[in-house]
């Protein structure tokens, strides 16, 4: 039998519930290839998700898994990681999940620089609830609650994570799967809070209302708006409008939270014994 990524599946759960062409499955594949390439044991991996289409991801993989409440994947993950720092903790979130209802947890997890990998599947819409606009819906695009076009500015999650204190930040898309797999692998291996945002599609809830009805149209569009970081930096402000830079934005080594906490414990215990 071939040892491929299907070894990580809870096979009875397949085929999965996602719509035809949904990027969630593509990102799941990338995550599993990255894990497979590192060679982590299933027992030491904890995958935590919030609520939404993307959050169903945890039901399909044979790790210690948790599908929590909307926006809260990271604080649940934080509790797990602090209680047992040996565990490899991965939080998978959607864009509404991570950046709207979970926005506070996202910046504070970055601020602590806790050794958790956050993977955000950004399909720029609330897919499961029927296509309401999210904090990552591009300005001017449509949603069921933005029938006249979205006037909100969208977050730059990568910039947000980097400025909040993360160790590793990268962005890719579901078109370039090799790239996101590479980013995810680096993020998983990074000691500290690591973030990989993956620009993804939602042909049903985003595509239909934005004239990108098929998965192929959506992928073509994602390809057309994505530019590498190097190219992006050379664009004028006007040229940058409507485009999304991809690549690695941050990769630094700074003190990690669980280690800092363990040091506190060791020091105080020594001090108490010394008395």
């Amino acid at each position: 039998m071939i040892k491929d990524i299907t070894q990580y599946f809870r096979k009875e759960m397949f085929p999965h519930i996602w719509c035809p062409g949904c990027g969630n499955g593509i990102v799941l594949g990338a995550i599993l290839r990255a894990i497979h390439s590192i060679g982590w044991e299933k027992d030491e991996i904890v995958m935590v998700s919030g609520i939404g289409c993307s959050s169903r991801i945890t039901g399909y993989v044979d790790f210690n898994t948790m599908n929590t409440t909307h926006g809260r994947a990271l604080p649940f993950a934080t509790g797990i990681k602090m209680a047992n720092p040996k565990l490899k903790v991965i939080a998978v979130m959607g864009d509404g999940d991570c950046a709207a209802i979970g926005g506070n947890h996202f910046i504070h997890s970055a601020r602590r620089n806790i050794d958790i990998t956050a993977i955000i599947i950004n399909n720029m819409i609330y897919g499961m609830t029927g296509g309401q606009y999210s904090p990552l819906t591009p300005t001017g695009k449509y949603g069921s609650t933005a029938p006249y076009g979205n006037i909100d500015q969208s977050f730059d999650l990568a910039a947000l994570a980097a400025s909040a204190g993360a160790s590793y930040v990268a962005r890719g898309n579901i078109f370039d799967v090799s790239q996101i797999t590479r980013f995810i692998k680096k993020a998983l291996l990074k000691k500290g809070f690591s973030v990989v945002e993956v620009i993804s599609d939602c042909p049903i809830s985003f595509g239909r209302i934005n004239q990108l009805r098929t998965p192929v149209q959506m992928l073509e569009w994602i390809k057309s708006i994505s530019v590498s970081k190097k190219v992006w930096e050379k664009l004028s402000k006007e040229e940058q409008v409507g485009k999304i830079p991809t690549g690695e934005f941050l990769d630094i080594d700074i003190p990690e939270y669980t280690e800092k906490y363990q040091n506190i414990c060791i020091n105080i215990q020594q001090e108490r014994r010394g008395k």
């Binding site: 809870r10 759960m13 299933k42 027992d43 030491e44 904890v46 935590v48 609520i51 945890t58 039901g59 044979d62 790790f63 210690n64 898994t65 948790m66 599908n67 929590t68 409440t69 809260r72 990271l74 604080p75 649940f76 993950a77 934080t78 509790g79 797990i80 990681k81 602090m82 209680a83 047992n84 040996k86 565990l87 506070n104 947890h105 504070h108 906490y261 506190i264 414990c265 105080i268 215990q269 108490r272």
Partner: protein, 382 residues
């Protein structure tokens, strides 16, 4: 069990809560600053690192509750503490703890409400919130101690119940007992019963994470222990996977409720004062029970046959005791610092066997013994 060598300390209620939690094996606390519960977090911040446990001040109340559940799933006894406004924020995740059957304790040092209300004054307005604050049908255990030493022991009980029944447990304090200082004789660890959750013993391949034993409680595996499973807030089957099968849904929701309801005898803690011959019963809990005890004494001095039923376990409710008592007494006075929460439960349980009247106070002051007595005297004359 000699008291002689025990360490005697003057402790604040919140400090006693910390001591109790640590004795019961709590090694994870996540919280967010709020009056009048902050001293619990402050105490934990000092004590837990000394023991290799984890204290975390999270970004908000919601995150605190989430982190507590996460830690518990990783196998560590976990607790949080807050007050009304913070408890409101925790409710969604308390529901998650209920459906995922994750042991955890939530302390609510009650203050006046609604909203910011009276942060530095006591109230008992969160009794129904404790029971029904999160949505959907779910079990709940809530304990309401009335003395500082009782806080210590009831914190241990709360942790034990949460572990034994795999369910969130609320410890309801109020601003007065949370901040009051009293003499506490600290028990030796060997003198107290500490209960740990059941862990699975079956083969890892055969493990069904939500298949309950005959006591309706499924054994619980720690994340990372080799028993890999899925935890979800969705209604799930015995395998832990989401289900929309009506039979499986019904089974789960009924089991969750029944594991507490059918174990009421174990969970309900109550105390009687002078109830043997009583014709009037005061029903009280928390700091009001202290005043009521004094009322009983004053009434007895006047020759009135007044007794007290002090409820420590508020949820599940002491229906059987109330019902029996209602057949004995002519009048029940339910004294509480709200406009009528437990009194409705008492009325329901009394089944019309006696008169049940509320005595409530919501001005931020404690109910005093005289006013309860006055109320009783007025009612007797009627």
């Amino acid at each position: 069990m000699s008291n002689k060598n025990r360490l005697i300390k003057i402790l604040q209620g919140n400090e006693a809560c910390v001591e109790g939690a640590i004795l019961a094996g709590v090694r994870f606390f996540a919280g967010y600053p709020i009056t009048p519960a902050s001293e619990i977090a402050e105490g934990m911040a000092v004590r837990l690192p000394e023991l290799g446990g984890v204290f975390m001040q999270m970004e908000d109340e919601i995150a605190s509750m989430a982190a507590v559940i996460g830690a518990s799933l990783a196998g560590v006894k976990a607790m949080t503490a807050s007050s009304g406004p913070g408890i409101c924020l925790k409710q969604e995740n308390i529901g998650f703890a209920a459906i995922s059957e994750t042991p955890c304790v939530i302390v609510n040092a009650q203050r006046g409400g609604p909203s910011t209300g009276l942060p530095t004054k006591p109230a008992q307005g969160d009794v129904m919130q404790a029971r029904w604050g999160t949505h959907g049908d779910h079990p709940m255990i809530a304990l309401a101690p009335s003395e500082v030493s009782e806080i210590l022991y009831m914190t241990i009980k709360a942790i034990n119940f949460s572990e034994k029944y795999r369910t969130p447990v609320m410890l309801l304090l109020d601003e007065v007992i949370a901040h009051m200082r009293e003499k506490v004789s600290l028990p030796f660890p060997e003198d107290i019963e500490v209960i740990d959750r059941k862990r699975p013993t079956v083969d890892k391949e055969k493990f069904l994470p939500y298949k309950a034993d005959t006591d309706l409680v499924p054994p619980m595996a720690d994340f990372g222990s080799g028993y890999r499973y899925h935890v979800t807030g969705l209604i799930h089957n015995e395998k832990g996977y989401p289900t929309s099968n009506t039979q499986e849904i019904d089974q789960l929701i009924r089991r969750l409720t029944n594991k507490v309801e059918l174990n009421k005898k174990d969970i309900i803690i109550e105390e009687n004062y002078f109830l043997e011959d009583a014709k009037v019963a005061i029903i009280a809990y928390g700091s009001v029970a202290r005043a009521a005890q004094r009322t009983v004494k004053l009434a007895r001095e006047k020759g009135l046959k007044v007794g007290l039923l002090k409820l420590i376990t508020l949820w599940p409710f002491s229906e059987e005791t109330i019902n029996k008592l209602a057949q004995q007494v002519d009048l029940m006075v339910v004294a509480e610092m709200n406009l009528g929460q437990i009194v409705r439960e008492v009325q329901r349980a009394a089944l019309g066997e006696c008169r049940v009247i509320p005595y409530g106070r919501v001005d931020g002051e404690l109910i005093n013994p005289i006013e309860i007595l006055t109320k009783i005297e007025e009612e007797i004359k009627l």
